[in-house]
């Protein structure tokens, strides 16, 4: 056989210069990606966020109802970050996050009630995470082959069946699916009795969860989950264990749902399956879409609106569902990347123009 003709070509194509037009500039801004794995800003962001929350939270939210909303927001943040792993990273349309929250609450109640096992609060939390993680593992394996839509239906069915079981299983979920008289959270002999004290408990848990989420953002798991989400077959053929990655994130995210349900139950003193219904399930989607599916901060920002909108609109309470629907529509059409995505886009734009002003290309990792 003959050797092919050797053609002289430059080793590397010249770097794109990002056109002079404004539109080209936008494209350039979109394209500059720092691979999150080497981005220390994630930890810095979490730290700044926690300091700000710790300093401002107790100062700004002084009234009882404001403290209640702040704590509720933190509970939703925890469930929402779990849901971000399931829906945002793994791309699984899971309708069972609220079921996981309810199950977590009931499990913790069952373990810690004074009339029952009377175990410590911390054991209740761990029990809630273990059981929800386990159920997610079983469900994930059972519907292994279910693709997007079928997975949604399967998890919706799980939620419905679960709610029915909670309604009738008095020994576990109390009469009519309402378990009351949960003991207030207490750690190492200190009992969090008031909303302002519970704030600090939730603050600590949210801090741990945020760092755990930042660790996932800065790990190979993120890119493999995204690859499996965007093109499962190609990812598998290219060597990504796609199913395992998605299952891992589903289990971890569901366990966070259980954790948040248990925290809510001990704080509120009661768990009711009706308060974790389909409305909250859609609410979680809303939080994620509003805040941005592409970032761990999405649910944190989105939950602010989910908690605050009913307050702003208390005079038109009966239309709240309509308003959620409209908000969702507007977000999907106008800002598909969510608020965090929007902020990031402008941040990138600013970064590029800054670097250009200093005559440097974005550095490589």
């Amino acid at each position: 056989m003959s050797d092919p003709v050797i053609v002289e070509t430059p080793d590397a194509a010249p770097a794109p210069q990002g056109g002079t037009s404004w539109l080209g500039f936008m494209n350039r801004a979109r394209g500059v990606v720092r691979p999150p794995i080497f981005d220390r800003h994630y930890y810095l962001g979490v730290a700044v966020f926690l300091v700000a929350l710790g300093l401002l939270g107790p100062v700004l939210f002084t009234s009882l109802s404001a403290q209640y909303l702040l704590n509720l927001w933190m509970v939703y943040c925890i469930a929402g970050i779990g849901f971000y792993w399931v829906f945002g990273l793994a791309g699984k349309f899971a309708f069972c996050q609220t079921f996981m929250m309810a199950l977590g609450g009931f499990m913790s109640a069952w373990l810690t009630k004074a009339t029952g096992y009377n175990l410590p609060f911390l054991v209740g939390l761990i029990g809630a995470m273990v059981i929800t993680g386990f159920i997610a593992l079983v469900v994930g394996l059972a519907v292994k082959r279910a693709q997007a839509f079928y997975f949604a239906i399967a998890t919706l069915a799980l939620t419905e069946v679960g709610t029915t079981i909670f309604q009738h299983w008095t020994a576990f979920a109390g009469p009519n699916g309402t378990q009351s008289g949960l003991k207030p959270p207490s750690l190492f002999g200190y009992t969090f009795t008031s909303n302002s004290k519970v704030f600090w408990l939730f603050f600590g848990v949210l801090g741990i969860v945020l760092f755990a989420a930042a660790m996932i953002e800065r790990s190979p798991l993120r890119r493999e989950a995204i690859a499996a989400r965007d093109n499962f077959l190609v990812a598998q053929i290219s060597g990504v264990p796609g199913f395992g990655r998605q299952l891992t994130l589903f289990v971890a995210g569901s366990a966070l749902g259980g954790l948040s349900g248990a925290l809510f139950g001990h704080w509120d003193g009661s768990v009711s399956s009706s308060s974790f219904g389909i409305e909250l399930a859609i609410g979680l989607f809303l939080m994620l879409l509003l805040g941005g599916v592409g970032s761990m901060w999405g649910p944190v920002v989105g939950a602010i609106f989910y908690v605050a909108i009913p307050q702003w609109l208390s005079s038109v309470q009966q239309y709240s569902q309509v308003i959620y629907g409209v908000v969702l529509l507007v977000v999907v059409i106008a800002v598909p990347e969510g608020l965090v995505g929007l902020i990031r886009k402008f941040g990138n734009l600013a970064m590029v123009s800054y670097r250009r002003a200093r005559g440097r290309r974005p550095e490589h990792a």
Partner: protein, 252 residues
């Protein structure tokens, strides 16, 4: 290196590939040709586990189950697709990292617990991925979104990903599609180099000159069956091949 025996694929009642056997040695570059619809791509899909198929597949002497995407990859087979399959949301280097053969600590345990070990293998992965990007000439784009690349660059990115797993067998589906003559020749150079480094390569393509220049052996498929096999110059003289490509003189 790659031994496929009696690979058959059928969609419903239509048999796309029927009993194709093909073996490729290390250090061999085999071209797979045939008219449109002759089952070339389907054969590659069957070998890499993307479609349900029956038959027998051995890679590097080890038996590999069919219909399991990922099984062939673990046995050392990499694949490039006809239309470039890159992940747009990830940056270029992340695309290459996906296929890395350095397996350690990519899951949740690496993210949360064994971060030290995760970083250690991650650094090795990055160094290797960067080498691959340099090899295909995309090093400058390492941290840019894959969606910004042109069609040809995406193909190169996919090639880098396929090579990043240190494959023993490399399947290429129309690598020259959409490339100009100079680029095609450069690709041929690269493929010959890859073959020299001890990789068994199967190329599906329509460009006869390109294949003649680089292939040690051609396999011709028609309607899902092998009709000819041998060195390029012999294959093109084969009666059935001529009729498959050009039609029978005076025929229907």
């Amino acid at each position: 290196m790659l031994e496929a025996k009696g690979i058959s694929v059928s969609f419903g009642g239509v048999s796309a590939v029927s009993g194709v056997s093909l073996s490729v040695d290390t250090d061999e570059l085999v071209g797979l040709v045939g008219p449109n619809g002759s089952g070339k791509t389907t054969f590659l899909n069957a070998v890499c586990g993307a479609v349900a198929a029956s038959g027998n597949l051995r890679i590097d002497g080890k038996s590999v189950p069919l219909c399991r995407p990922g099984a062939a990859w673990r046995a050392g087979l990499s694949r490039m697709f006809q239309a470039p399959q890159t992940f747009e949301e990830l940056c270029c280097i992340e695309n290459v990292l996906l296929g890395s053969s350095e397996m350690g600590w990519r899951g949740l345990s690496g993210a949360w617990i064994a971060r030290h070990y995760m970083w250690r293998s991650e650094r090795r992965r990055w160094a290797r991925a960067m080498e691959m990007l340099e090899l295909v000439g995309l090093a400058d784009y390492a941290t840019e979104e894959a969606s910004l690349l042109t069609y040809g660059q995406r193909r190169l990115l996919e090639l880098a990903r396929a090579l990043g797993s240190d494959p023993k067998v490399l399947l290429l589906d129309e690598p020259s599609a959409g490339l100009n003559t100079a680029e095609t020749m450069e690709l041929g150079e690269r493929l010959v180099e890859i073959r020299r480094s001890g990789v068994a390569v199967i190329v599906v393509d329509h460009k006869v000159d390109f294949l003649d220049a680089i292939c040690d052996r051609l396999v011709v498929l028609q309607l899902g069956e092998v009709i000819a096999e041998g060195p390029p110059e012999e294959v093109w003289k084969h009666e059935q091949v001529v009729s498959a490509y050009l039609g029978v003189p005076g025929g229907a």
